[in-house]
Each structure stands twice: as C-alpha cells, then as structure tokens.
Symmetry: C2
C-alpha cells in the first residue's frame, strides 16, 4: 500500500511531465513549420492556407520570432472553449460534438458525487478508526485512512455508505437519462436539419439471389419494380475491385520510392542513385534506381489496365449487393425497415451508410458465411481476452538470449558484451507484450472487419466493444486480482459464485493507489501526449525532408488522424468504471478522475477543432453503447460493494443492496426501449415531413440525376481519373518549370509541378458538374483502403467523386 | 436404486392403468349420451348433429346396444390416423397440425437414437463391468448395469460415449433443421393460401398520444392520412368495456341459478323453491328463489343499460389504441414493420391478431407501465420458481391438526377419531402443494396477462415458457438434486461453477429409474386420462342434470376445451430434455419416451380431430419456442455429460466435449436468423403477390365495407344483441310450446323453446348479411372473457359477429 507521500511524488512527477508536454506543445504549435501538424483540420476545411510566397523572410516562415505568442502559451484553452455547440457540429460533425459530451457527462456525474463523498464519506471513514487503532505508526501516512477499510467491521457507519451508494446510483441514472434525452434530441434534430444527401434515399441490399439468365442488375430492378412500384428509382451495382485496389496501392508505394530517388538526384545531379533490387538493398543486382522504378511502374500500369478491363467486362465481378435508391425518404425508410423476401436470408435491406462510410470489401460476404464468421470471431475474442498471455509467453521464451545466439551465432560477441546483455535481458521479455498491446487495436479492428460489417462506423464501434472487454478483464480485474486473465478464469470456474465479488470487493480498496497512478500515467500524461502529437510531428517532418516536393505532397504528408473511437471509447468507459466503483469505497480517487475528464475535455475539444479530420458521420450512433457501458459500470460497482460489505460483517446490507442492481437493470431496459429506436430506425413521420417540405420548396427537383452517381463504386472514379489523367498529361507537361523543381520554393499557392513521370501520379480533376455557385477545393487523402479522410466541402453537391485512391486537387480557375 | 423387477412392476401397473383408462374410453365413447363429451368438435364444425327426435327408442339414445362396436374398441386409432395433413389443417387449423408434428419430431429424433444406443451403448456398458465386479450379488438385478455407471473410470470406452454424444447431437440438429424448414414452409404456405381475412389488412396501434381538442379517432385519422397517404383506409376505436363485461358475467351467473330453480319448480310444481339469500344458503332471509333471482336480474339489466350508455357517450371510455386498416396487405405490412413516430414510445404498431385472438383488456396499458410490469413479473416468476415452497410450507404448518382444533374446537371429537386423524395427517400436508400445482398454470397465465400481451396466443406462449422454467428447476433439477429449489439456488451460489455439472452429472444415472416411473405415471397414464376426459365428462352430465333444458343449453354445457399449449408445450419439452440427457447416459430410458411420444401422438390426433375446439389461429407461431427449448435441452445434456465425464477420470473428454455446445449454439444462431423472421415478420414480396392476385381476380372488391366491422369492439355486438333481443322477445313468445318444456324431449333439431324470462338470455340472430350462398350455423360459446371458443364457419365472410358474450344461433330458414 502506497503512502500519501509516495502518491504525492508520483502525482508530482506526472503533473510535471504533463506540464512539460503542454509547454512543448505551446512552443511547437506557434512555429509556422509545424502548422500543418497542429492545425490540419483548418487546412482541410479551407480556413487556413499556407503563406503566400514572399511574405516574410525564409526564417520567419519556419520559426516564430514573435515573443508575445510565447507568453500566451495557454491561449489555446480559451480558443478551444470559444466555439459554440452548433458551430462545432457544423465544423466537425455531430459525432465529434457528442463525443465531447461524454467528457462533460463525466464531469456532471462525478463533480457532485465527489463533493458529497468528500463532505460525507471522508469524515465518516477517517473517524471510523479501525486502522487508526490497530497500527498507529504506519497508518498516518496511509490513504487507507480515507477509505472504507478504515471503518471497523460491523459498524453502523456502513449505513451511510449504503445510502451514498443509492444516492450515487440515482444521480448517475438521472444524469444518464438527461443526457440520453439530449443526445437523442440532438441526433433527431441533426437528421432533420441535414441537407439533402444521398444516404437518405438509399438502401443497401445484400444477398441478392442469383437468377439464371439474369444479371444481378436485372434481378434487382425486377424485384424492386415489383415490390416497391411507387417509390423505386434505380440501383447501383457493386464491383469486386479488391485486386485492382491492391495493384493501385502497390504502384503508389513504388511511386514514393521513385520520388525519393528523383529528389536525391536533383539535389546531387552529379551522381545517379544506384542500389540493389533485393531485400532491403543488401542483395540482388545493382541498378539505376530511377530507371528501375520507372520500369516497374510502367509494368504495373499495364497490369492495372488489364485488371480494369476484367472488372468492367466480367459479370462475376459484379457482387450480389446493390445500392437501391428511392424517390422519397419515406420509400427508403419503408424498404430499410421491412423484410423483403420470403427467404429471410435473401434480399437483406438496411439503411445505406454514407458513401464515405462504406467499407466496400465486406459487401460481398454471403449470409451463411456471415453467421460462421460472427461465431468464430466471438470465440477468437474470448480467447484473446483470456488467453492472450499464452502466445506472448511462448514468444518470450523463444526470444531469450540463448535462443538468439543459437539462431545467429555470429551475434554472440555483441550479445556477450555486458551492457548489451543487461539491456537485452531487461528489454526482450517486455518487447513481445509491448508490441502486442500496441497492435491490439489494429487486431481488433481487423477482427471486426472479418465479422463482415459494411460501414466504417460500425467497424469502429465493434472494435471498441471488443477492446472494452479486453480492458475490463485485463486492466480492471487483472489489476485487482493478481495473475493473468487465464488464471482468473480458472479461479472463477473453481470458486463459488458468491466468492468472486468477495475476492474483488476485498481487493478493491487496496488497489486504489494503483489506479490513481494509472489515471495519472495513462490519463493525464496520455492526454498531454495526445495534444503534442509526437508521432505525426516526426513523420511529417521526415516526409517533408525526403518525399515532399510540391504543396500537394505536403498536404498528403499531413496526417490529421481522427478521434479514434475504437481506442478512446473503451478507455473512457474504464474511467467511468473506476469512478463509480471507487466513489463509495475510496472517494479520494474521484479528484484524479475529474482532473482527467476536465483536461481531456479541453484537449479533445482543441484537437477536434484544429486537428482531427472527420472520416464519416454516424450521427452519434455510438451513444447507446456508451450508455450501456456506464450502466454496466454501475452494476459492477454494486457487485463489488456487495462483496466488500459481506466481508465487513454488515449482514443487513445484503437485502438493502440487492435492489440497486435490479433498479439499475430496469432503468436500462426502460432507456433502451425509450431511446434506442431513435438510433437504429428512422421514423416514417420524420421521413414524410422532410419529403413534403422538400416537395413544396423544390417541386422541380430531378432526384434521379442527383442520386445517379452517389454510390458509384470507387473503381469507376479511378477509371475516370485514369482517362482524364492521360488527357491531362499532355496539357500539364507544357507547364513544367525547371526553376520550380527546387524543393525549398515549391510551397507556392498554385504550383502545377510535374515531370512526365510524376504525371502518372498526380491527377488534376476539375469538377465541372458541381451545382453550387462557388468552386470548391476538394482534397481527398488516401491512407488505407479502409480509411477515407474525406470531407466533402459541400454536402449539397451530389459529391460525384468518392475518394477511393483519388487525389483530386481542385484548381481555382 | 430400483431393480429391474421394481421397474417392471411399476411399468406393469402403469400399463394396466393406462389400458383400463383406454378400455373405459372405448366403452364410454360409443354411448350416445356421451357423444357431446367425446366428439364436441364434430358438433361445432357441423359434421355431427344430435339425433332427430323419434329415431330409435329412448334407451337407445342413451346407451349403445350394438355389441359389435364394443369389439372394435380400438377403432379410434386408425380413424385418428386416417385424416391427411391438409385435411387436418383445414379441420383444426395449422396450430393443431404443427403441434402434432412435435410428437412426430420426437419419434424421428429418438427412434434412430434409441436403435443406435441399444445396439452400441448397451453392449459397451454391460461389458464395461465395474459394478459387475464390485458388488456382484446386488447388481444383476440392477438397471445400472445398462448405464454408463457400469463402465470403469478411466476406461477408453468413454470414447464411444463421446462419439455417440456427437452423433446424437448432429442427428438432433439435423432433424430440427429439417423440421424448421418444414414448419416455416407450412406457415408461409398457409398464410399464402389463406383466404382474405381482416387481420391481413389490419395493424394494431398502441400508445396513441393525446392531442388536446382532438378525439382519439381524429388523431389517428390525421396521423395515418399524413404518413400513409396512399394506403390508409380507416380505423376502429377500442372501448374500455371491462366493467360492462363484469356486469354481463354477473347476470349470466344469476340466470343459471334462475334456470336451475325454474327447472326444479317445473318438475315438482307442487312446491315453490324457497331458500335463504345469505352465504351458501345458510343464513339471510328466506325468499322465493324464482322471484328473487328474477328481481336481481332485472336490477342488473338496468345497471347494464346505464353502463352501456356511459361507454358509448363518455370520451374517456375510448382507449388510446386503435385497429388501423389499409387498402392492401403491402400497406399493412409496411406499417406493422416500421417505426412511425419520432418518439419511439408512441404510435407503436404491430400486426393485429386475429379478431378472435385479441385480448381486449390489455389494450389500454401505457408504455411506461408495460416496462414496469414486465420487470415486476420477471421478478415474480423468479421468486415463484425458486421460493414457491416457502408459502406452501407456511400454509402446511398452519393447516395441521392442532391448528384446526384451535380454530374450531367443536371439530375436536371428529378429528380425534383415529381413522380420520391418520387420514388427515397423511392428507393435509400434501393438500396445499396439490392445490398449488393444480392452479399453477392459471397463475402463470394471469401473470402473463399482467405483463400486458394483447393476444391470447402470445399469452399462452408466455405462460408456457414460465411453466417450462418451473418444470426445469423443480421437476428436472429438483429430482436430481434432492432438496427444494431454494436450497439448490443456495448451493449454486456457494459452489464453484464447475462443481454444479459434476453434482448433476453424478446424480443423473442414479435417477434414471425415477424418471422412467415419472414418464409412466405422468406420461402414459396422463395421456390415457386425457383421452378419457373425466372432468368434462362429469361436468357435462352434472350440467345436463341440473341446468340443461334446451338443445342450446346442451351445446353450452359441452366443453370441448383446447390443446392447452400453456401446459402441454412445457411438459413435452421436458420429455425432450429427459430423452436427450439420458440418450448417452442410460439409453434404456429411451423406449419409455418413445412409447410416450407414440401414444400421445395417437391420443392428441384423436382429440384434435374429435374434441378440441380451436380458439385462435396463430399459424404455428409457437414453433421457434419449441425449437429453442430442444436446443436448450441439448446444451443441458452436454453440460451434464461434461460433469459426469469429469468424475469418470476421462480427462481427455474435456477438450473434445467443449466443441459440442459451441457448435450447437452456432446452429441455433443460424437457425434463428434463417427461419425466425418467417414467424415474426411478413415479407413484402408475399404481400405484394397476394395483393396483385386479388386485384386481378376481384377488381371491384369493396375492401372498406369488408373491413368495416371486423375489429368492432365486442361491446358493440352486445349492444346490437340487446336491441335485437328486445325486438325478438315479442316474436318468440308466440312460439313457446308448453309441451316442449319436458326436459327429456327437448333435444330435437329446432327447439325454439323460450319462456318470457328466458328470452332475456337466448338470442336468435339471423345473419342476413353473410356473403356466401349457403346459410351457416354459427355457434359462439363464451367461457371466460379471455377465451372465445369460436370457429367462424366461413373465413371468407367478413365475420360480422365477434363472439363476445354473444350466443348467436343461426336458424335454418
């Protein structure tokens, strides 16, 4: 058990650490050279542009010499708070705004609880005085004095704790209820006030049966013409272009290398870059790298062209999935919510996700396979949560020094050096675990992908819930009960069920200091790290050094990232769990949580405004999950309190405590039926209202042309680009200016830089069909096939250019 | 442990008992006087009528003198089997036909399992020889020799049992899958080939919000005109007539007494029946019973009339529920399956149950109250299942001899008589339990009613599932682990979870003989009792003796009953559980189960054809429940086998067995998503098909008039009757014929008997608006407000006369 002093030291270190991070951030963010690291969102939304050439000296464009800005190093805080909620929703989407509400919910729940707990429970605990009497000398420096352990067993003071458990539960439920009303209203209001967009009229149809002598499109057409005669408008086929996408990605990688070598050659024109083709440049024959990569790229180009032909002409490339559009929101709502076919495994309809939210790869999974996948993945998640230590221990046992010496005897002299040996011995065993924990979110996301969800938002939500189980078992339970999750599982099976809450309950107060330290390290310092953005900062400058030649490259090198619900939701939920469990037991933990919530709220508000790019808009579809996890935390807190009380000879507590979880469960059921449909379904009343309003305001709207290309498979855009690109290639080459090739000067506004080889990579694409009066900058960055960092600048436009592999760069005419 | 001889004796007794019952049945059923007890269904469906007057002698009409029929005492078996499935569906509805398929499913699952088990497992067990060596003298007469207990621990023979567990599970799943396909197809086919009926076009809307200055009907009209403009046809309000129904019921009871006394007076005209008005005729003032009851009835008539006025005129009597009709099945399907309102707790839509399936009382329950009711009832069911022994033990402790002597000292001399004392001591403690078990199904049905389900079919299904939990815990687990359910619950909480399957697994083979006896007593004898119909037989003859005066009274006295899903489904599921659990452990139990299934199949087929009256048609909506209960039985059998194996030192079995429940669970999930929508939803494809076929065949159909009265609240029919009744009263009196008042001769075909007082009770009601060419006999019997023993004779007719409290008697013109 740590003493108050220990905790104070730990808190001091962490606070200083966080403070240093914040200072560093304050220093770095005002340097113009880091502008694209700390304000990418402003660039994306067009609120900030790079400085025009010639303004200020060269130094001034990299380093901030205005000393005043350094003194106002906390200026980001008020500016982060200044934006109003409607503006925030407009700027970053409803998802982000509601995500921030989780932090305020945390504050709303825990601030009154903390005040009450500090005023009532701490005096009760301190004057309880068991520990005080038993071991006087140790105890005075112990935070146990402030916890429930200080109350002597069998004392009547436990009634106060019971009462507080009821008060805290009711308060939490009350705040949850109010927040659910709020969020549901925000969602409905958001959907109602949303401008016309394609997903309001579109339904995704999966598992289209194969009818012989009919193409998929014909089958779909016929089916919907028959069963939705009044509202059916059209449909869009989905192509299996996974192989094509792979080739394009490969080409892109080669292109990066080519760029790198060309830049190298330009800086030192005296020597051509040579290198070996084999692994890591160590083996293989030596070639001129520029020629080599050019040859490989042109080879790939041919492959890509033939694959394109195959996709377009092969009927097998059309998948049994389609996006079906209707002439009204009402018609789409009806189709999405009803069963279409006599065979319930065919013609599965659901609301189409936003075009940028679609996860195309999963669209082709058949129904039967889906049920197997779900089953296998849930088994895998169970195994991962409870048995993840087994493979890691195995790897650890392999990756010891003797093993390495055996495999690579030539390393022996190096390893035998004492310093190296100690370092490795201390480092290797932890390495496997560190790597595992680092890649865990990615693994969970891949698992969710295998499960077959068709939208990025649902993928993230599923990954988040898997991560939550992992954290609950391995962080929460794992810290309370020593030993691996597997050992816990074994113990749970071989202990009476009533023993489990006792075991946990007894350990809970003893682990309070551990969790305080955890909150400081993971919470406080983690948040400060989040705002400093070390990884994007380093990568941006590395890319800037080696690849970036034009302003467009710089745009590409900038990585705004996103909120990362898959990781952040579970850790937030863990903080709620800690707060609720410790509220009655060791209330001194609450201030740490409140500081975390307040700090995280500020940081994430700043990041959402200035940094993160919204990948999709799910209209707060994650809220029911947040709500039910907090309910689960309440239930866990009741069970642990139950276990703790039963060891405290407080027999009267059993009947009094049993109602708490029952009432909480009932509250949850009520909320679920009262609010959840607002997040899962779309009421016909709403649909009809919007339809008739639209019909009144725009009677001559041609919906068919509006919807025509909304869900066009990304591959078609690629095809279009390819054609356009080939046309552009000739035009652009005229404008190539040798003088602009100097890397330091390329960041002017309209650098139409291109060499003939680069022309295959950058595509100029001017959207002439846009319906709005102003011309827009559209920037689509591609990171991975599953992630579109896309922000359509105008949702009113038909968004004719999905982002897949597309680097559109609107040129001001 | 019972020996084989013991078991043989028990089997012999039960077989003889069942045989005697069957013989009695064979004797009684050929007596014409019992015709209405054993063939009520044939009377109801018009296939059999009472003998016309004058045919045969008076004796012949009561006793069967044809000796040949006595020799053909098993003739009911082939005649029960003769009816083909489509005929059966036509005769008794799809529910009955699918219910019978549960028995054939049992045979299909267990016959091959039994053959395999007897051929493979019995030899393996017998030659296993642990018990054989250990206690040679006892064991030879023991059925344990045939069970898995006979195999020595750690033997490799357990591999065979494991293999068999896999084979049995796969076979069961395979049969379940085939059966689900079959039943789902039958359901879809039934729905598709069904004639036009009102519930296909009707949606029930609950929780209609109150809009000030609008009546409920106006609100509904406006809402659906706005949100379903193309398909909305009309709506029918629902009235709160529960108090009116109570008064009518009261009047009916008085009427019965009046009839009784009038009959008494007619037989002995020399003395008027006098009696006291107080409780049970013991106290109160002495009155002329005929005058007294007449006065009370006329008093009630006034009350009924004023209540009728109140319901019709008070706007508060209109409940926030409505039946909304659409002009097509498509429109209704859309409305039933979608969310209507922004507030998901308002405007809840669902398919309307059949008119005769509606449980009117529950229509008015608001949403918030529903969620509380469900919560409270699930807590109550839990308490009932686990703590039901507590109140019974309390009652038992009160109802001992000393207690009675204290309360009623004057009984002391009687009680002190030795014979009486022994009898009471043996009898009283069991009485409370017996009464409890007898009323349990009724209690569970009432609980389901409190939960707020709006159709009789769902009420029965819910009651069935509650009863199943009770049986599972108190019959299955209660027999295996000695002690009350409460003690089990306590043990479960204080034992490690792995200990529970071990406890059960070890006890399982030892309890085989008990369950064999249980199957014989509850199954075989119970089935024989079912076909004998002792209770309806007695009640019918009692009523015949005291109340029946006319042929219509006799119709009323006849109680066809119904299948009684609420009781029969759970006990059937228990047999599946026993069969699956013992298939590997003690396969000698299987023949008992198979005899039960075969016998029960025959008996229920006979009863369904000849006796039971179909109360409603849910188109086999109970099948998903049957399926998942059998899956649950499989899982329980795996867990018990797991526990058993772990005590048998068969360590290798753990990893091998763990896949079985996982695979079974996956199979269940797959079946659920594959088939269950067919039982919950109505595909639009189907709806559209039927709509367009109907439009093609009957283009001039006036659907509005067809649907106008389908869901008219029963109270309106009562009002209509009352008016008609008052008109009829005058006409009918003319036809009163004193000669026909002789009770023995009233059973002629068209006995239009009535006295002026009876005219208030019998109503002649000629349906002139029926659309078919033949005139139909419609007979509506009222039993309880919740049960309409109604069989519309022609589903094609608009069924203008819901049965509530209506005694329509169609007269052949």
């Amino acid at each position: 058990m740590a003493t108050l002093q220990d905790l104070g030291v730990s808190a001091f270190i962490n606070i200083v650490g966080a403070f240093v991070f914040l200072l560093l951030f304050a220093f770095l963010r005002v340097q113009p050279v880091n502008d694209r690291v700390y304000f990418p969102k402003l660039y994306l939304s067009g609120k900030r542009r790079h400085l025009p050439q010639g303004q200020g000296s060269a130094v001034r464009r990299f380093v901030n010499l205005d000393l005043c800005t350094y003194f106002r190093f906390l200026s980001w805080v008020p500016s982060a708070l200044r934006m109003s909620q409607p503006d925030l929703i407009h700027h970053a989407g409803l998802d982000s705004a509601v995500y921030l509400r989780i932090y305020t919910l945390g504050l709303k729940i825990f601030l009154p609880i903390m005040i009450l707990a500090l005023l009532v429970l701490i005096p009760v605990n301190v004057s309880g005085g068991t520990l005080l009497n038993l071991r006087k000398e140790v105890v005075f420096s112990d935070i146990d004095k402030l916890s429930i352990s200080n109350v002597s067993p069998g004392s009547n003071r436990f009634f106060i704790h019971l009462l507080m458990a009821y008060v805290f539960t009711f308060w939490t439920c009350f705040m949850l209820y109010k927040e659910y009303i709020n969020v549901a209203f925000m969602r409905l209001h958001f959907l109602a006030s949303q401008k016309r967009c394609a997903d309001q009229f579109t339904v995704i149809v999966r598992n289209i049966p194969h009818v012989s002598s009919h193409s998929t499109s014909e089958t779909v057409d016929e089916f919907f013409r028959r069963n939705h005669p009044d509202h059916y408008l059209g449909q869009q086929a989905v192509y299996n272009a996974n192989r094509y996408a792979k080739l394009v990605k490969q080409k892109e990688r080669l292109q990066n290398w080519l760029d790198y070598y060309q830049l190298k050659f330009e800086r030192h024109p005296e020597k051509r870059p040579f290198g070996r083709t084999g692994c890591l440049g160590f083996c293989g024959r030596e070639v001129d790298q520029i020629d080599y990569y050019r040859a490989r790229i042109s080879e790939l180009d041919k492959k890509i062209a033939s694959e394109r032909q195959r996709v377009l002409n092969d009927p097998k490339a059309v998948m049994p999935v389609a996006f079906v559009t209707f002439d009204s929101r009402w018609g789409a709502a009806v189709c999405a919510q009803t069963q279409q076919s006599k065979n319930p495994t065919q013609w599965l309809t659901d609301w189409a996700p936003e075009p940028r939210d679609v996860y195309w790869q999963n669209l082709a999974i058949p129904f039967f396979s889906l049920s197997i996948r779900k089953f296998l993945i849930s088994a895998a998640v169970f195994a991962l949560v409870f048995f993840y230590m087994i493979p890691i221990a195995f790897v650890q046992s392999l990756a010891n020094l003797e093993g390495i010496e055996k495999v690579a005897p030539f390393l022996r002299p190096v390893i035998e050096v004492k310093v190296v040996k100690y370092f490795l011995q201390g480092f290797l065993p932890g390495l496997a675990l560190k790597i595992f924990l680092y890649i865990l979110p990615t693994v969970l996301l891949i698992m969710s992908k295998v499960e077959g969800y068709v939208s990025l938002s649902s993928l993230e939500r599923r990954a988040a819930s898997k991560y939550y189980y992992f954290m609950l078992v391995n962080v929460f339970l794992g810290s309370i009960i020593a030993g691996t999750a597997f050992e816990q599982l074994y113990a749970f099976f071989h202990q009476p069920p009533t023993q489990i809450p006792r075991t946990i309950g007894v350990a809970i107060p003893m682990k309070a200091t551990f969790f305080m330290t955890y909150i400081m390290v993971d919470g406080w310092a983690g948040i400060a790290n989040e705002i400093l953005r070390v990884k994007p900062l380093v990568i941006y400058h590395l890319k800037n050094m080696f690849i970036v030649k034009t302003e467009r490259d710089r745009e590409k090198a900038m990585d705004p990232g996103s909120i990362g619900l898959a990781e952040n939701l579970p850790s937030l939920q863990l903080y709620f769990l800690l707060g609720l469990v410790y509220a009655v037991v060791t209330p001194i933990l609450l201030p740490f949580i409140i500081i975390f919530f307040a700090l995280a709220f500020l940081v994430y508000r700043h990041q959402i405004i200035n940094v993160y790019n919204q990948e999709y808009e799910s209209a707060a579809a994650f809220w029911p999950q947040v709500h039910s996890r907090i309910i689960a935390s309440l239930l866990i807190s009741h069970v642990t309190l139950f276990g703790l009380m039963s060891t405290m000879k407080a027999a009267y507590s059993t009947p009094l405590l049993v109602f708490l979880p029952l009432l909480t469960l009932w509250f949850h059921k009520y909320c679920k039926s009262r609010f959840e449909p607002a997040f899962r379904k779309y009421p016909l009343e709403e649909a009809m209202e919007k339809d008739s309003m639209e019909r009144a305001s725009e009677p001559s709207l041609n919906l068919k042309s509006y919807l025509a290309n909304a869900y066009l498979h990304p591959i078609f855009h690629m095809f279009e680009q390819q054609q356009q690109e080939e046309e552009e290639e000739e035009k652009v080459e005229v404008r190539v200016d040798k003088a602009q090739l100097q890397r330091e000067e390329v960041d002017e506004e309209e650098a139409h830089v291109n060499t003939s080889s680069q022309a295959t990579h950058y595509q100029y694409h001017h959207h002439e069909q846009q319906m709005t009066t102003t011309t827009h900058y559209q920037y689509h960055q591609h990171d991975h096939m599953s992630q579109y960092h896309v922000r359509p600048t105008d949702t009113d436009s038909p968004s004719p250019s999905p982002p897949h592999f597309a680097y559109h760069y609107g040129i001001e005419p």
